[in-house]
Each structure stands twice: as structure tokens, then as C-alpha cells.
């Protein structure tokens, strides 16, 4: 049937990279010297007016990094990264330090507006109820350009600012917790980040406070040949609650760019942290050229009894994703959750999952992972669930579902389970399915185009996870997934 073939050809011709965020902001920027050295680290630290101990902490990390080997166990392949060929500091010239909104360079405000990020304290995300306000920390290349709603949050006792500002204003708090969840030498990329992290967000929720609004950080890489190394630290004191969301995009460039972040969460007694990510770094073009290498260490410490940390992630971007948001379930009765949607298309490579480390009594965890592979991509779920000797009655439920779109992609599931306590109960379920021709034809017969049919079926597949996202981002996430899969059928 010629007409059908024509549609298929048309769909095939659409580029995989329907990437809507690939533009570059033309802004004068200041860069540090190229290369990774003690000098680079000192330059960075001085730029930020950091306390002496912080400079030392970084230098110590650098020395350790120089003795480490790049890990090779993940199912990803890429040419070796030349760390001396990167810039570690790039900042818009107009930014001297976090400012109030009316002082921010209009060019920057326009950039965020184009990305759909509300950098204003009156306006709200399109289509969102006015009551759901979102405070945003906007990080552009190596610096935070502005943080909204800071004053209002302060009234509730909540600290929300860039980590650079926190190092100056609240050094004792930072010093107490930084590196306490992800130690300096935790892994290759975390050590690198410890040496050269440039900016990121800091959140402190005091005892008994329920954070009055959604907090979010928006990361944008703009400069060329620049690594982005952000560092986020969130502390929830006893009985407090916070919901936090991060988003990321980068311009479309031919060369690969490195992003190596560290996120640390600390939840004390009865506290709860809900951390959501919508990751949409540039994935590379349809031939696999360019894209972000995303090597991220995210870990939450349920330090107090009855504490709870949940990670929800929607990963659609990056050429390579290497990311395992984890929970250390130390406090009695603490609970960890991981909800993930990882979409890969084109030549993207995803190796992602979680670690649930049960240390305390009666700890529980839940993992729901939905992997969707299309094009020529490879999508691996890698997860560890472990119970230590004292973790009596530890419970875990894991469900790992993979959906394949097309013939040339791969889905892999690598679960590790370790139990040193006989009373631990771990359950693991895994499925792999394909979008069937029957399903496609049925949807098309009802009037859906190829792409609408794939989007509908995929959205059905990921529904359990979408429901975990803050309402105002669920719709966006669904759209993003559909866009990421454009061109995947035929």
C-alpha cells in the first residue's frame, strides 16, 4: 500500500532530535583557564570568595581525583574524556553574584522565558493554578543568576539560595553536611565534582516546617567546551517537608559536553524530601553526534527515624546517562522510593537505576522503573537492593518494565540483591514488551497518527511514574516524552 509506505517514509525522515532547547544565548561570558589543575581550583574558589577550608577541601579532592581511574563497568561507551581540554568556569559577565530579579541581565531573563521557566515572582507556569507557586534557582553555566521568592521563603525559615551564597552566608551548615552523604572519594565523577563544582542549590528546611512552595533549580549549559559541575545540598530538619524539582537543558552542539553533578539529601527524624528531576540535556543529533555526557551522583540519607526520601526522575536527554539516585535507609522505619522513566532514542545510551541500602530496622523501599528504548539506543536499568545485618524486617518491592520501540534498540535489566538479614523481604518483578503492530493499528484505525499512537501507548506505559511527579510538571513531562520519541516509528 503506497500511502502507508509514504507515511512511514515521512516519519522516518523526521530528525530524531526534535530538540526544542538547542538555541545558544549570545551573551558575553568570562571563562577560567582551560585544564584541570591546582590553579584552576584556586581560581574557582577565589572567584567565589570561598572560605579557606573550602579551598583546601577542593584541593584535597583534586589530589585524590588525580589518582583515580575512570570506571568502566557501566554499559556505555564513549571516547576517553580529556579533562585538560575543558573549561571549568564560565559565567555571564553581567553576573557578579546572586541579585534581585530587576538587576538580572534581560538577555538571561529572555533565555529562561524561552525555556518556559518562570523567573518572576508574579507570573506562574503556563496552565498552572496560581496557588502552586514555584521558587526557582536559575543556574547558567557555572553560576546561579537569580533565586526567586527568597524573601518570602525566609519568613518561613526556609533557606533557598545558591550553594556559593550558602558557603558565604551559612558556612557552618554547609561544612557540617557537605560530603556527609557522598564522600569526596565516593567515585571518580563525584571526586571530580568535589574539586571543581561551580554552583548549585542549597536548601535548608528548619524543624517542623512544611516548605510553603515547590522549590526548583533550573540548570542551563550555554558555553562551549565547558563542563558543568553543580552541587546541590538539601537538609530537612526533624519533622519538615520539602518538594524540590530540577530541570536541565543545553544548546545543540556538535561536540560532547560533560556534566558531572553531585546531589546530597539529608532527612532527619520524621522529615520527608521529595526530589524530582526532568532531565532534558541535548541528546545528540540523529547520527549520534554531540550531546551531553551526564555522570551524576545523587544520594539521599534517611538519617532520622521515620524519615522518607523519594526520587522521581524523567530522563529524556543526554547522549550518555550514568546515574543512580540512591537512598541510605539508616533511620528506623525510614523509607526510600525511586520512580523512574528513562527514554532513549537515536544513539543515546542510558545506564541508570538506584541503590536502596537498608541499614536500619523496619526500613522499606519501593522501586518502579520504566525504560523506553527507541531508535538505536541502549537502555539499562542497574539496581542494588541490600540489607545489612541489623536491618531486620527490611522490605523492598522492585518493578522494572522495559518497552522497546522498533528493532534496533536494546533494553537490559541488571538487578543486584544482597541480604545479610534473614528477615528481609525483597520482591523483584521485571517485564520487557514491545509496542505491538496490533496496538498501533488499533489506535490508527481510531484516527491517531503513528506518532500520536506511540505517544499514547508510551504514556500509558509510564503512567504509574508520572503520577508521582508534582502536578504542575506531570503534563510537561508527558509532552517531553512524546517529543523525545518523535521519529521513532516506521
Amino acid at each position: 500500500m503506497p500511502a502507508v509506505q509514504e507515511t512511514i517514509d515521512k516519519v522516518k525522515a523526521i530528525d530524531v532530535d526534535q530538540y526544542k532547547y538547542g538555541f545558544v544565548t549570545d551573551i558575553e561570558s568570562e571563562k577560567g583557564a582551560k585544564g584541570l589543575s591546582e590553579e584552576t581550583v584556586r581560581f574557582l574558589s577565589a572567584k567565589k570568595n570561598e572560605p579557606e577550608w573550602m579551598t583546601e577541601w577542593r584541593l584535597d579532592a583534586l589530589r585524590r581525583f588525580q589518582q583515580m581511574e575512570e570506571p568502566e563497568w557501566a554499559r556505555v561507551s564513549y571516547p576517553k574524556i580529556d579533562f585538560d581540554d575543558l573549561y571549568y568556569w564560565a559565567a555571564p559577565k553581567s553576573v557578579e553574584g546572586p541579585k534581585s530579579l530587576d538587576e538580572v541581565d534581560p538577555e538571561l531573563l529572555a533565555t529562561y522565558e524561552k525555556l518556559g521557566i518562570p523567573l518572576s515572582e508574579q507570573e506562574i507556569l503556563a496552565g498552572v493554578e496560581p496557588k502552586n507557586r514555584v521558587a526557582v534557582d536559575a543556574v547558567f553555566d557555572s553560576v546561579s543568576v537569580v533565586t526567586t521568592f527568597k524573601e518570602e521563603l525566609k519568613k518561613a525559615g526556609v533557606i533557598f539560595c545558591s550553594i556559593s551564597e550558602a558557603l558565604r552566608e551559612y558556612p557552618d551548615l554547609v561544612r557540617k553536611y557537605l560530603g556527609s552523604v557522598v564522600p569526596v572519594t565516593d567515585n571518580f565523577y563525584a571526586t571530580l565534582n568535589s574539586a571543581v563544582f561551580s554552583d548549585g542549590s542549597f536548601v535548608y528546611i528548619p524543624e517542623g516546617v512544611r516548605c510553603p512552595m515547590e522549590l526548583s533549580t533550573y540548570f542551563r549549559i550555554n558555553e562551549q567546551n565547558t563542563g558543568q559541575f553543580e552541587r546541590t545540598l538539601i537538609i530537612a530538619e526533624k519533622g519538615s517537608y520539602v518538594s524540590y524539582l530540577e530541570g536541565c537543558t543545553a544548546p545543540q552542539r556538535d561536540e560532547n559536553q560533560l556534566h558531572a553533578a553531585v546531589v546530597e539529601l539529608v532527612a532527619l527524624d520524621d522529615a520527608e524530601i521529595k526530589y524530582s528531576t526532568v532531565q532534558n540535556w541535548f541528546p545528540g543529533d540523529k547520527n549520534g553526534k554531540g550531546g551531553i555526557y551526564n555522570f551524576v551522583t545523587k544520594r539521599g540519607d534517611c538519617r532520622g527515624k521515620n524519615s522518607k526520601i523519594s526520587w522521581t526522575q524523567v530522563e529524556t536527554g543526554s547522549a550518555i546517562t550514568w546515574k543512580y539516585p540512591s537512598c541510605i535507609l539508616r533511620g528506623e522505619n525510614s523509607r526510600g522510593e525511586f520512580y523512574s522513566i528513562a527514554v532513549s532514542n537515536g544513539y543515546q545510551q542510558v545506564d541508570s537505576g538506584t541503590k536502596m541500602i537498608h541499614l536500619g530496622k523496619n526500613t522499606s523501599s519501593r522501586i518502579i522503573s520504566k525504560g523506553i528504548s527507541a531508535g538505536r539506543s541502549q537502555n539499562t536499568y542497574r539496581g542494588l537492593v541490600s540489607a545489612h545485618r541489623k536491618a531486620s524486617n527490611a522490605r523492598n518491592f522492585t518493578q522494572c518494565d522495559s518497552l522497546l520501540v522498533g528493532q534496533d534498540c536494546g533494553a537490559h535489566t541488571v538487578p543486584y540483591i544482597e541480604s545479610k538479614n534473614a528477615s528481609a523481604q525483597f520482591e523483584h518483578e521485571a517485564t520487557t514488551s514491545k509496542i505491538s503492530d496490533d496496538q498501533m493499528f488499533y489506535c490508527q484505525q481510531r484516527g491517531l497518527s503513528d506518532e500520536e499512537a506511540v505517544a499514547l501507548i508510551v504514556n500509558g506505559f509510564v503512567k504509574d511514574v508520572i503520577q508521582q511527579l508534582p502536578m504542575e510538571f506531570a503534563v510537561e513531562a508527558q509532552k517531553l516524552i512524546s517529543i523525545s520519541l518523535e521519529g521513532s516509528v516506521g
Binding site: M1, P2, A3, V4, E6, T7, S436, D437, D438, Q439, F441, Y442, C443, Q444, Q445, R446, G447, L448, S449, D450, E452, L456, I457, N459, G460, F461, V462, K463, D464
Partner: protein, 251 residues
């Protein structure tokens, strides 16, 4: 409305012909019944009308309101008003029936250059159609066809048909799996859609459906050809004597 001329078809990449010269004309406002032994090609004909690409048309043509239907993609045919109620409806996990209905209705509207439905307008339509077919709100919230009983699946098909308001309705064994009450409810639903602007092709094995949906014309399909055409009395005759008389002539 529908003209099928000398249609030959086979499963793509296979040699055996399934349809071996089907001729059929269905005028606007008419209801045609197609009967015939198992494996005679009834579902194949309905799939080809809907544009399933696992079948290959080797000869002949199909005109839908004068247009060459074989050159249209399945979703274009749907937007143009072709609806197939499947013999075996497909499950779509995680997609609420309600959401599916909205997506389908709006996809067709968009393709025809019409505005998408407002939520209240959509809800009003769904509620009315669901009430007629005895489909509960609860069922509309469940993922489409997942865990539906045989009868529920068939009712969901007719629900979709009444909401999409097609011009040409092809019903493939909609009666199978229905209990006596459901058969009546579904038939009433189908009869409500009978109109001078619409044509229907009802594929069935049993006269009892045709008691409710009374056809204007009855055809017997055997071994990929229409071997006999008559009025509604033909169905009664078949019920009594079986296909023996016609199978031989088709050989």
C-alpha cells in the same frame, strides 16, 4: 458510499490469496450483512478496508465516496469516516478508556480541521453515549480493554463508534461474546446510528443479531468471493440449511 471492485488480496509476503475477486457496493443509508464460513476472509476484508498493512492488495480497487481508499493511511481513512469494530479488540495498558476516547475524537477532529472538543462538551457526549450502552463510569476509568470481559469489549467498541460518528461502520462479529441482554443493548446502540447518511457492513455468523439489526442486503462470502447475495430472508435460509449449497459453487 463503498465500492469494492474485483478485490484480490493476500497476506504480505505470502503466496496464497485470501480474497479472490470480491465485488461489493454499499450505498449510503444501507445496512449489509456478510456471512460465511470460518476462514472465508470476512475479517481480512474488514482489515483491508481499514488499511492494515500486513495484507497486500494484488488486484482491484476500493472506492470510498468516490476516492481511492487504498491510497489512504489508516488514520486518514478513520478521519474520513471509516470505522471498524474489531472482532478481537486490542488492550491498551495504562490508557484510561476515557482518555483514549478523547484522544481519538480529537485526533479525527484535528485531521478534519475542526476544533478540539472542550472538556465539558466531551464529557457530556461520553456520558450520554455510555448511558445508552450501559457502560459504567467505572469502566471508562479503566485502561481500555484491559481485563474487560468479552461482552464489555464489544460494548466499548460500539461506544467508540457512536462517539466517533463514522460514515461507514464495519462491525466484525460484534455479537460474539454478548449475552442476551447485551446483544439487545448493543443492537439498539447500532440501530440508533442507522441513518440515511451512514452505511453499515455487519459481519456475523448468526441470524439472531440480524433479528435486531435488520439488514437491507445479505451476502455470503466463501473462499474469498461473494457467492450469493439476497435480502434478509437469505440469512434465515442459511440459519436453517448451513453453507453447504454455496461452498461448492465457490470452488
Amino acid at each position: 458510499m463503498l465500492e469494492i471492485k474485483n478485490l484480490h488480496a493476500r497476506v504480505a509476503d505470502e503466496d496464497t490469496e485470501i480474497l479472490r475477486g470480491v465485488n461489493l457496493t454499499v450505498n449510503t443509508g444501507e445496512v449489509h450483512a456478510i456471512m460465511g464460513p470460518n476462514g472465508s476472509g470476512k475479517s481480512t476484508l474488514s482489515y483491508i478496508l481499514a488499511g492494515r498493512d500486513s495484507y497486500e492488495v494484488t488486484e482491484g480497487e476500493v472506492l470510498f465516496n468516490g476516492e481511492n481508499m487504498l491510497e489512504m493511511a489508516p488514520d486518514e481513512r478513520a478521519a474520513a469516516g471509516m470505522f471498524l469494530a474489531f472482532q478481537y479488540p486490542i488492550e491498551i495498558p495504562g490508557v484510561a478508556t476515557m482518555e483514549f476516547l478523547k484522544t481519538a475524537m480529537n485526533a479525527q477532529r484535528k485531521a478534519r480541521g475542526e476544533d478540539v472538543l472542550s472538556i465539558p462538551d466531551f464529557m457530556r457526549r461520553v456520558k450520554a453515549a455510555a448511558a445508552h450502552l450501559n457502560v459504567s463510569m467505572d469502566m471508562l476509568k479503566r485502561p481500555l480493554n484491559v481485563g474487560f470481559s468479552g461482552g464489555e469489549k464489544k460494548r466499548a467498541e460500539i461506544l467508540q463508534m457512536s462517539l466517533l460518528e463514522p460514515k461507514l461502520c464495519v462491525l466484525d462479529e460484534t455479537d460474539s461474546g454478548l449475552d442476551i441482554d447485551a446483544l439487545r443493548i448493543v443492537s439498539e446502540g447500532v440501530n440508533k446510528l442507522r441513518s440515511p447518511e451512514r452505511a453499515m457492513v455487519v459481519i456475523t455468523h448468526y441470524q439472531r443479531l440480524l433479528d435486531h439489526i435488520v439488514p437491507d442486503v445479505v451476502h455470503v462470502l466463501s473462499k474469498g468471493r461473494i457467492v450469493k447475495t439476497g435480502d434478509k430472508s437469505l440469512a434465515l435460509e442459511l440459519e436453517e440449511k448451513g453453507y453447504a449449497d454455496y461452498i461448492d459453487t465457490a470452488a
